[in-house]
């Protein structure tokens, strides 16, 4: 990076395969590396979920087709035969591992790396007119930490005792005593998390430095695309919320390996015998440290998605975003408030009603800026002649899905109703509506939207629409019934899909036992098949993603969507160093359909007419 004697092109050619594609310091390559790795992890996390849904829908029956493969992978402790002798019944321990690892992988290895690592890396420097990130080598290290953390997580499936099995929340003392192997899956989980935390720490430092330092000339704060603002706030959340979890991880690691008692209370009895530890620890302490990260983490999952959706809506409505400034301030307020809402996950822990009231109040407050952003996006659609492109369809899908997820969160934010709904399938449905049909739809939208900038070709439109339609249908078919299950009281962590608590009708001599109705239990089966169909609906996307690299319709220009932001004002694909000449910005990010202009979009780097005269360089095409 210090070598300035070469022209950018010459420098580019001197790099070999390894430096160019594997150990690259170019933010675009790192963004793609993040994207591909994260998509693979997402597919893996999805497969874990399919296995869990099979167990919930067909408790005690062998997993079809891959039973023997599972036996080879997990061993006879984890996979047994069912009544008919078919191999492939998932043990309760393995189910718990799948559950814990599904959550961990989806949050820390799939969604965040995709939303922040991939889109943030690829798009942010381009949108601010920077040649690269402020610290290209740290950027590479960030990706490498992520890969190492992910591999440690994957490796934990194959050690004695299997992967972590105390939920993605890893509550102590369960996380310390649930598996007596040392080191065990939980140890791997903690070490993997430390790697992932270091990765996002390096990323966060890099993103904030880049956005503060490397904005192009004239790109003032209120001219930043909302996507950049979203990444900026996200980076601050990662920077400040993750270290307490790192601290908690170190403490739990000490509990697991050194025999300390940070989270182990005095007099803890495990399997009928008192545990030989010094005691005096606090299980609540873990929960506080964990949720201090994990609630801001929710906004880490959501804000980049909002950023992507905003870019796409502005571009496809051909209108400025309504309320851009309020959206920016809302994002900042969300960033601040998200640090003081964490204990609304802990109403049932007995931390006290006064504390619960405080966190209930802040939780209600944080819904206000979220609603402002969503409302601004909705109003932006008003009166527009919308281009229903594939990215726009996904972006439009995001709005109601995120709306459902957000509104169903309100009863969970209230102390009184949460006591009833806590840890039921209602919670599962609520946060999956935010993340799965919400954030993941936004991520799909982003992939379809920026694909022409990466490859110079569009993804196939027809198969994109098929992908959207089927995904939309099956996402809802999966998660909508869960609200019903949860409101009927089905606990989210049960291995048998709620059979233990099935209602028993009155029989001779014994009264009826109230419990889960047969309809609610039956819902597990259509949910399973909707999940399988959702998996099948991704096949067109996967084929489309690779096929279009060579065979997609050509983009035709560097700015095929007629967009205003800077990433479309570079060659396609952008060269090492991004811009042919330094960028200068003259206007806000969303100048679409400005009256009096020849075209319905005015790129940010296009000077005003008056400035054109003085510059003598009209950039008209």
């Amino acid at each position: 990076m210090q070598d300035t004697s070469h022209a950018p092109e010459a420098h580019h050619e001197t790099l070999g395969f390894w430096r160019k594609h594997i150990f690259s310091t170019d933010h675009k390559v790192i963004g793609l590396q993040y994207g591909i790795t994260a998509l693979l992890f997402m597919l893996f996390g999805f497969c874990l979920m399919l296995l869990m849904r099979w167990q919930l829908g067909h408790s005690g029956q062998a997993v079809p087709v891959i039973g023997h493969l599972l036996l080879k992978l997990h061993g006879p402790d984890m996979i047994s035969a069912d009544k008919s002798g078919t191999i492939g019944v998932i043990s309760s321990d393995l189910y718990n591992s799948y559950g814990a690892m599904h959550g961990t992988i989806m949050v820390f290895l799939a969604i965040v790396p995709l939303a922040f690592g991939a889109f943030g890396n690829f798009v942010t420097p381009l949108q601010i007119g920077a040649p690269d990130m402020a610290f290209p080598r740290l950027n590479m290290a960030s990706y490498q930490f992520y890969v190492v953390g992910g591999l440690i997580m994957l490796a934990s499936f194959f050690i004695p005792g299997g992967a972590a099995k105390s939920g993605w929340t890893s509550y102590s003392p369960l996380a310390t005593v649930s598996d007596l192997h040392r080191p065990n899956g939980q140890t791997f989980w903690l070490i993997g998390m430390v790697c992932l935390i270091n990765s996002s720490l390096l990323g966060a430092v890099n993103f904030i430095s880049t956005i503060v330092q490397l904005r192009a000339k004239g790109l003032t704060w209120m001219r930043l695309p909302f996507f950049v603002w979203a990444q900026f706030v996200t980076a601050f959340l990662l920077l400040l919320a993750f270290p307490p979890l790192e601290a908690a991880g170190v403490l739990q690691l000490a509990d697991n390996l050194l025999g300390t008692s940070f989270f182990l209370p005095t007099g803890l009895v495990v399997s009928g015998a008192a545990l030989h530890v010094s005691g005096g620890g606090s299980p609540l302490l873990w929960q506080h440290l964990f949720w201090f990260l994990a609630h801001p983490e929710v906004y880490v999952l959501v804000l980049p998605a909002m950023g992507i959706v905003t870019e796409i809506i502005a571009n496809n409505t051909r209108k400025p975003i309504w309320g851009y400034r309020s959206m920016v301030y809302s994002a900042l307020v969300i960033g601040f408030l998200s640090f003081i809402v964490w204990a609304h996950h802990m109403y049932l822990t007995g931390m006290g009603t006064k504390i619960a009231t405080f966190f209930q109040t802040t939780t209600m407050m944080i819904s206000i800026p979220s609603v402002i952003i969503l409302t601004s996006l909705l109003i932006s659609l008003w009166g527009a002649s919308i281009r229903f492109t594939v990215p726009m369809l996904f972006a439009l899908g995001f709005l109601p899905m995120f709306g459902i997820g957000g509104l169903t969160g309100l009863p969970l934010g209230f102390n009184v109703s949460d006591i009833y709904l806590h840890d039921t399938y209602y919670v599962i449905a609520h946060f999956h509506y935010i993340v799965a049909p919400g954030t993941i739809f936004a991520l799909f939208a982003g992939i379809y939207y920026w694909y022409p900038k990466i490859t110079g070709r569009f993804m196939n439109e027809f198969w994109g629409k098929v992908h959207f339609g089927l995904s939309f249908l099956f996402m809802n078919a999966i998660f909508l019934p869960m609200f019903k299950q949860g409101m009927d009281g089905m606990s989210r962590r049960m291995y048998d899909g709620g059979l233990t608590y099935a209602a028993v009708p009155a029989a001779a001599g014994s009264p009826a036992i109230p419990g889960l109705s047969s309809f609610v239990l039956f819902l597990n089966k259509p949910i399973l098949w909707a999940a399988v169909c959702l998996g099948l609906a991704q096949i067109p996307f996967i084929i489309n993603l690779f096929w279009s690299i060579r065979h997609g319709r050509k983009a035709g220009s560097d700015n095929p969507w007629d967009a205003t932001t800077l990433e479309w004002q570079t060659p396609t694909p952008p060269p090492h160093g991004n811009f042919a000449k330094p960028m200068e910005v003259f206007r806000g990010p969303y100048e679409y359909s400005v009256p009096g202009q020849a075209r319905d979009f005015t790129p940010q780097n296009e000077p005003d007419a008056a400035q054109t005269l003085t510059h003598g360089n009209p950039l008209r095409s």
């Binding site: 040649p131 430092v205 307490p244 601290a247 606090s282 302490l285």
Partner: protein, 267 residues
């Protein structure tokens, strides 16, 4: 390709890239140690009466280490200022003292750690507790030998250090008189490692993590001071930036200790 503002400050922010980077990193470090200090407070406030030891550590050694770190921080500033005044030899001298301070700090710290690992508490079958430093020279496996120990009748008495006039003496305790552990895994013999009590657990985690920061900081400062010092001739501005940024980190590590010392040694 060159990254803008890698060396010179950006006019509207007044910072070069690495400087904002290190401040952001330090912000996250504040959150890391902040969480650990919060854990310390919560553990201590929630501790049952008679389970939190006071004045367990050697205040003189702690104070010595505090002075060593403060001296090193002053030397870092002198070194950086010398470079600004174009005096490379003075910088070498000052920063050399910084590195010696780092070594001295780690030496004292490891002596303190060793002292804790040699400190044993042994519970006897008659209910008494023998507490003191083990005699490593003892090879007789039938007895547990203390170099200097005191006998107390209950655990809470150990929460305060022995009185100034208390006599610590050599003790040899036959293994047969030592209580068996409730879970059947050996005897009730435990040294003052992190497993011994919540206080020692948080002590070892806090000081251990701090020591790792000292080691990391010292390695970076040494690398800039020694192997990478050729940069001073080719790009002095960038070299001074490196010294400044590593110095900022060093001050932070020093500052953490300024909080650790009273919290762990004095309170």
């Amino acid at each position: 390709m060159e990254i803008p503002y890698a060396v010179r400050a950006r006019p509207d922010t007044g910072l070069y890239n690495a400087k904002i980077g290190i401040w952001l990193f330090l912000a996250s470090e504040v959150m890391l140690f902040g969480a650990l200090f919060s854990s310390y407070i919560l553990l201590r406030v929630n501790a049952d009466p008679g389970t939190w030891p006071l004045h367990l550590l050697n205040v003189r050694l702690g104070a010595l280490n505090t002075l060593v770190l403060i001296l090193s921080s002053v030397m870092v500033v002198f070194g950086w200022a010398s470079l600004k005044m174009n005096d490379f030899r003075a910088y070498k001298r000052y920063q050399g003292i910084t590195l010696l301070c780092a070594l001295a700090f780690l030496g004292v710290k490891s002596f303190e750690y060793r002292d804790k690992f040699n400190h044993y508490e042994v519970q006897l079958k008659n209910g008494a507790i023998c507490d003191g430093h083990v005699d490593r020279a003892n090879k007789d496996t039938n007895v547990f030998a203390f170099e200097a120990a005191r006998m107390v009748t209950n655990h809470a008495e150990l929460m305060l250090p022995p009185a100034a006039d208390a006599k610590l003496e050599e003790v040899k305790i036959p293994m047969s008189e030592i209580k068996d552990r409730a879970d059947g895994k050996g005897k009730e013999i435990e040294n003052y490692g992190p497993w011994h009590s919540s206080y020692l657990a948080i002590y070892f985690v806090l000081t251990g993590l701090h020591a790792l920061h000292v080691i990391g900081g010292a390695i970076v400062i040494f690398a800039i001071w020694g192997p990478l010092s050729g940069l001073w001739k080719t790009d002095p501005e960038r070299y001074i930036n490196r010294v400044e940024v590593s110095g900022l980190f060093w001050h932070f590590v020093d500052l953490i200790w300024i909080f650790l010392f009273p919290v762990l040694y004095l309170l």
